[in-house]
Symmetry: C2
């Protein structure tokens, strides 16, 4: 395969600002060279707008997309929303799951997301009966990502209990394996592909009894795989954990080997100062999902304290109330402002690193999310010649990209050297609106 040249007027190469006249050379699925200050060579593919590395959506439950706009007129809280979410979970089968995931991953591609971490717990058929192919559901997700042209880390999730000391009930039985050892056997049968890797997840301290957690952590360590876990999204989880175990969820995870450099704690909303010290001290990454945390009335987690103390920051669109990693990036900063009364907690470049390189590390793709030789050829162009982004001036264009642009401004998306989106249109799934409409109608009442 010959070298391909891609040229953009501007690109972000990881520093505090943008480079001008950037030529990216790719060979197959890899970047082989990146240079700035060049005019477009004849034959180069011109990318429209500012080029950034592909973005990593580090926390996704793709089927929650079916609920967008469908629960907004309901009163209630996280727990009543969960009932609506379970109703969708109850209807999914491998074919409908594939169709829905393909459409949602296509929406992600259009938003400049080139890698998704799918926190996957809907493993089994109705009543919890295993499919003939035990990983039929996970394999549907992997196939959907291939169809949509993006990478996936399938975070196969261990989910054994409906609450601390409470058995799985109703639709939850579809989530459960017999125990963590059975989970490990099933997850171990999943094979990585060029576009797909496998990671592990402990659903939460609600979903996995403490004595089973170590098995999952050991599996992840043995496979050098990422390990993700929901942490303290709601105060009720903290209260139940304290009552049952006499400690916080953070302490419980720490005691059972779940925290550490390969681990990502998702939400981390309701933490004590000691919890913050423990999460950050173990270099556990934290995945903030601020548009979901707003939507589900979770609250605002101590993101700045965690990252100042040593946790890498990554981002997820989680329930997909919004699929826009740039909006997630600025929302982390803006919600920290609401929490603190102060501005300027992260620079635009720091937020963009969370959306790109650090997100990829948390998903086990350390060779992606950066514009440099030997990295995977995953990159995205964002149009800043819009009313939204106008007026920033040369020295603030990166801030305009992070604080004013969004998914609607993404023009080109290249994954592994292949153009998945061109001029804002998905090249394989022509009608993403129609695909979403049909796939969601098939699984909603």
């Amino acid at each position: 395969m010959p070298v391909t040249q891609w040229w953009a007027e501007q690109a972000w190469r990881g520093g505090p600002g943008l480079d001008e006249g950037v030529l990216i050379e790719t060979d197959g699925d890899r970047i082989v060279d990146v240079r700035s200050g060049l005019a477009p060579p004849p034959g180069a593919v011109r990318l429209e707008g500012v080029v950034i590395p592909g973005m990593a959506n580090a926390h996704s439950h793709c089927f929650h997309r079916a609920l967008r706009a469908r629960t907004q007129d309901q009163r209630g809280d996280f727990w009543s929303w969960r009932e609506a979410m379970y109703a969708v979970a109850g209807r999914l089968e491998p074919d409908t799951y594939l169709a829905l995931a393909r459409a949602v991953f296509a929406e992600m591609a259009l938003a400049g997301i080139t890698c998704v971490g799918e926190f996957h717990y809907l493993h089994h058929g109705r009543g919890g009966v295993a499919y003939a192919a035990p990983n039929a559901m996970g394999e549907a997700l992997v196939a959907a990502a291939a169809d949509a042209g993006i990478r996936i880390t399938l975070l196969d999730t261990c989910y054994l209990s409906g609450g601390i000391g409470v058995p799985l009930e109703g639709v939850q039985r579809r989530f459960g394996d017999a125990d963590a050892a059975a989970w490990a056997r099933r997850a171990g049968a999943l094979c990585p592909l060029a576009h797909a890797r496998v990671g592990a997840a402990v659903h939460s301290v609600r979903g996995v009894p403490a004595e089973q957690m170590g098995t999952v952590a050991e599996w992840a360590a043995a496979h050098a795989a990422p390990l993700h876990v929901h942490l303290s999204e709601q105060p009720a989880e903290n209260q139940a954990c304290l009552a049952a175990y006499g400690c916080t969820p953070t302490q419980l995870l720490g005691n059972h080997g779940v925290l550490g450099e390969r681990t990502t704690a998702v939400h981390a909303t309701h933490l004590s100062d000691a919890d913050v010290a423990l999460v950050a001290g173990t270099r556990t990454a934290v995945c903030m999902c601020p548009t979901t945390e707003r939507d589900l009335a979770d609250g605002i987690g101590p993101a700045r304290a965690l990252t100042s103390a040593g946790s890498p920051l990554v981002l997820g669109s989680d329930s997909h109330a919004v699929v826009d990693l740039l909006e997630e990036a600025r929302a982390v900063e803006l919600d920290e402002r609401l929490r603190s009364g102060r501005r300027g907690h992260w620079s635009a470049a720091e937020l963009l690193r969370a959306a790109t390189v650090d997100g990829h590390v948390a998903l086990g793709w350390p060779e992606a999310g950066r514009l440099e030789p030997a990295a995977l050829a995953d990159f995205v162009s964002v149009d800043l010649r819009t009313p939204r982004a106008a007026g920033a001036g040369a020295s603030h264009e990166l801030a305009a990209l992070v604080f004013a642009a969004g998914a609607a401004d993404v023009r080109d998306v290249v994954v592994g050297g292949r153009r998945v989106v061109a001029g804002g249109r998905h090249q394989r799934i022509e009608d993403v609106w129609g695909a979403l409409t049909d796939a969601i109608a098939a699984v909603t009442g």
Copy 2:
């Protein structure tokens, strides 16, 4: 002028859902008939998407738009941000103010905003010297709105002190009249036009000494004009007011006749329960500006408590960190969720009423913001056939519009029976990006 027929597949006529096949007939600048359930008649203008009434941006400082993306890498707070804002204020003259306002109002038109309330305090030349035409700056704003094709309520602002007991200093001297009587004489010389009305504003308890407030309130009453005021945006204002006057800003405004049915209190962030009761008990409207309140680290005001107790809710984009009234609408709900831990404080229809009919009432245009006979012919179409809005299903389309669509999805904008935006393009100002870029470059360092 003959009757014009406009037809849309769907429209929101104020109820909990959307009507299908809606025909709007206009004669000159008025709607003369609205009917649902019809096929498009031959010769009707087809509007693309879901039609809603024109939106009212009830709180704008248009020149703050120059700061978008330019202060995001700064640390600090509201007060340090204000220094950057003052630097822009110091550079503006009638010609540059006109050019900037025209571009910003064009951005608003593209976002479906058909009426803006411009909280205008930059009255005088350098050093506070009056222009030969004493309202040269306000008239520039009125002309800019005409150029951009939208309505304006010029909320001419009385701003006499730099803090309680502190004289105006530096650039603030451009804001000040000699006293409230001098303000009233100058404001009284402003003439309404077909597209422009005049209202009054008390800047804040910081900007107007208590004994001067009554003059402004009386002027507004005598002119049956809207009266706006910044209220408790920052805790420091409350502390200064308590120290100087022995009461809260709300109480002070109440004691001096500033609250009431024609008044809109902007922000209302840091209120006591007694303040809430006083604001709502006087039927004072509250203008929430949540994207600005996030950006400036103001905090989250008690919007639900105020509106439950009787205050109409309206919305503003204020500093224009974002110009998207649909984003403001959902942000009020989402930030209330962060505050309360509960979901479902307002329905989509209630939020859309804030953005349309109630916003227009607060700006003194009670005959606008509704799709009904005799109303002004101001309406907007929003495309829901996007990946963002897909999947809501027939019974949740209004929620998709409010919770998932945005400024980028606005297709057609009609003001007074004339199409200002068609297919997402401004019909008079061809290159809004360029207009913003040039106008902002002219007034920034």
